[in-house]
Symmetry: C3
Subunit: 356 residues, 3 copies
Amino acid sequence: MFLKSAWYVAGWTSEFETGKLYTRRIIDEPLVMMRREDGTLVALEDRCPHRWAPLSLGRIEDDTIRCMYHGVRFGTNGRCVEVPGQASAPGALKARTYPVVERHQWAWIWMGEPEQADMSLIPDVSLLDREDVYMHRGELNYAANYNLINDNLLDLSHVAFVHEKTIGRKVEGDDEPNVVTGAGAQPLPRGVSNNNWSIGRTAMQAPDAPITDQWMWFSYLVPGIFINHFRTYPAGTAERLNFTEPSKDLECISDTFSIQAVTPLTERSTRYIYSGAHRKTDMSPEAAAAIFGMVDEAFREDTAMIEAQQRMIDTGPPGTMGWIQADRGLSLFRKVLDQLSAEERGATAARQTESA
Amino acid sequence: MFLKSAWYVAGWTSEFETGKLYTRRIIDEPLVMMRREDGTLVALEDRCPHRWAPLSLGRIEDDTIRCMYHGVRFGTNGRCVEVPGQASAPGALKARTYPVVERHQWAWIWMGEPEQADMSLIPDVSLLDREDVYMHRGELNYAANYNLINDNLLDLSHVAFVHEKTIGRKVEGDDEPNVVTGAGAQPLPRGVSNNNWSIGRTAMQAPDAPITDQWMWFSYLVPGIFINHFRTYPAGTAERLNFTEPSKDLECISDTFSIQAVTPLTERSTRYIYSGAHRKTDMSPEAAAAIFGMVDEAFREDTAMIEAQQRMIDTGPPGTMGWIQADRGLSLFRKVLDQLSAEERGATAARQTESA
Amino acid sequence: MFLKSAWYVAGWTSEFETGKLYTRRIIDEPLVMMRREDGTLVALEDRCPHRWAPLSLGRIEDDTIRCMYHGVRFGTNGRCVEVPGQASAPGALKARTYPVVERHQWAWIWMGEPEQADMSLIPDVSLLDREDVYMHRGELNYAANYNLINDNLLDLSHVAFVHEKTIGRKVEGDDEPNVVTGAGAQPLPRGVSNNNWSIGRTAMQAPDAPITDQWMWFSYLVPGIFINHFRTYPAGTAERLNFTEPSKDLECISDTFSIQAVTPLTERSTRYIYSGAHRKTDMSPEAAAAIFGMVDEAFREDTAMIEAQQRMIDTGPPGTMGWIQADRGLSLFRKVLDQLSAEERGATAARQTESA
């Protein structure tokens, strides 16, 4: 089950060159994408409405796509413009099209009814445009359901364990890791927010680096957009602020953010598109590159754990998962998705009643 | 779903040597085939009726097959002739047998009720016996349903697109390929026929070769036997004949035919057994060999396209395929198969009523 | 379908070292096993009751297992002892545990209700402790249902055919193999027994070795424990004894036994754990090693045949297997399993009624 009425990230805008066809599967629908001569990025279903050969095996001819099975040709509006050996192109032969918007480095695709596409629902990832930071981009595929990846990001208590050797934070002289949990998560209109102080040092830092107080905050937005910030302050700051939110103006040691997208491909495969950014004034390019390498490794640690979890879910005997306080964030987000899916089913039923 | 009451091609007769067991899966039934000492080719179900071990892992002993699991031995009529350690062979232990006929280079197997086997239903492929031609034989497996391969052969409009770099025909000075469509297909009692004039030159020919007029005609017969001819004539012939059928006696430049068999293995795998022939008086052996190499490459182009189409069908959201005029041939043939399957179900039901 | 209320062999006791986690799947339930500091071997379900990450990816900390996804920690009694970032460990978060007994070299696990675990039901494999023999141990996996492997062992008539080149016995000057069948099998309270005389020589022996009379007897016990003996006597012994059981005191030429366990992993995969033993007084260590090498090869012959049989069962058209007299042993054993499964379902239903 997927929410259809949402903007999904199909990739970085820079991936799509004019003159090439790109194939994608999003929420289990096959897509072919192309950039028109005028620069517009478009998406159609990736099957010729004639006999379902993939249009992505076709050929671009003057902003149209010719299916290379029987030569039937389509405009980027989905309309058939030519059937070889046939006098006129049948109007009934039409490929479905999907609204596409390029905004802040990402190509967003609306998978619901085209007339319902509402650009105001595109999450604000304008941070991706910032130029005063070292920006790192990555992508990887999970052999797992998207919900498990959302869950993972919504409860950062996993960081101290899954990533104990990479990006987890520890307090000096304390064997217990310094846990950032999802227990304090709060609902947003289309998502969940969370924030925490944690005091310590990460595996990414030199072992003799001074301890810092870290303020973390994030928004997690439908359909699976993670906007995550970390700022570190001199030790003692959290206590001085009585563990409340620091003012945005308060000078910090380092300022980091990470924007990530979880795009379901099928029920058991998911595309994870991520970025990380460090303020250029905080470190050298080499230091940033070292951190980014560590982050890439950490994300492979997540992949291994989540894919193992998925296998347990798929092969294990039936049962019910347990509950800890840290699950508050992921539970809130699952409720948001469930609520929107219920609304979507209601709206679809209403439209069908109207048209009947 | 498969039509059972039909003769399927199990292979070239030359494939089957005395003293060896051959395993086949046809319409999802496991078969073991062997040539007896007297030369007769026989087929049994490839599972020992005792505990279902494959008989094809067994041993031939004096025209019987001994299952090499527990040593039970069967005659080629399916009757058990020995159970090791047991005084007599139980009559109830019987392997199913299938009628087999060797005719015109191919081994044909009847997959329906043995008593319904009617040798007059074997399509006439006597052209395979001709000796005045260069004959090329090939086989390949498709990871696709047999219907998609029948469809492909029944609408040759695909040739100009799938095979644009190999065996497709083009008109000189015309960017549009010269399309041979299935639009003019006509029903046969157990199949479909089609014919066309096309004017041009194929990628197989030298680029400065003279344009020719090509007359193509084929029969496509149950369960999936393609008998296809091409004759080329000097440019202008088609127009002179007002695009009607040329007399068989009319001298042609080249005379080619291709006999092909589509044999379903399972719902998602199919054996494609093909031949091509060129009149020896038309060309040198080297020229024929070059064409045959191009044809092999073209058939791999079909495989890639049809397997991609199959994946779209298997993974895509539900929907209905579209229709163009070229689909007339394949639609007629699907109707023939549907009609015969309905008759088969009726006959089976009638026999069951009788015996009840 | 699996019988749960039984002791399954999880492996050799020597496989389990303190300080490591071992993952097993038995009757399609995921298990994690560990040896505590005090030497006790324990088994828990291999999924964290929190979010189902495998505990086998976790870390042992002072005889507890910490899940390395979110750091939740469990005692070997399955009780949660720590949730990082949460004041107290929730009692509801509990991992299922399984009774484990180490006896006679094997680790036995009870897969039924823990309170029903009855150690008197562990089959007696004390022969595994004998020190006056050369003992050979092996293990392999089958891509097949456990019933097919039980069947195989319960009808040794297969030995002459599957193993005709390795451990099968032949009578000199006789082309017909000397068949030991399951036809004489007798029921035991929780299993089946069988015995036979056979006269000949095995492929393992030198071709000019003297013929011997071999007395074979076995017990096959729930859930799939094979206790098999072979003794050879000078030619003529069987006839002299009128083919009755020889006294245990009667001096024999060689004395061999083999203890084997068939442990279902899933419906389509099975672990086969086996041993073979030869009296040290019967042969040199080199001779024993040569026989053991032949036995390993023979078991790969079984694997090939049974996996082929399984594929036929899984892909073939529906049908019913046949019957020969040799099937008596395997039929009796299947009845024992069916009977125990029916009792188990009855007991489960009764407990549910009581607690309702």
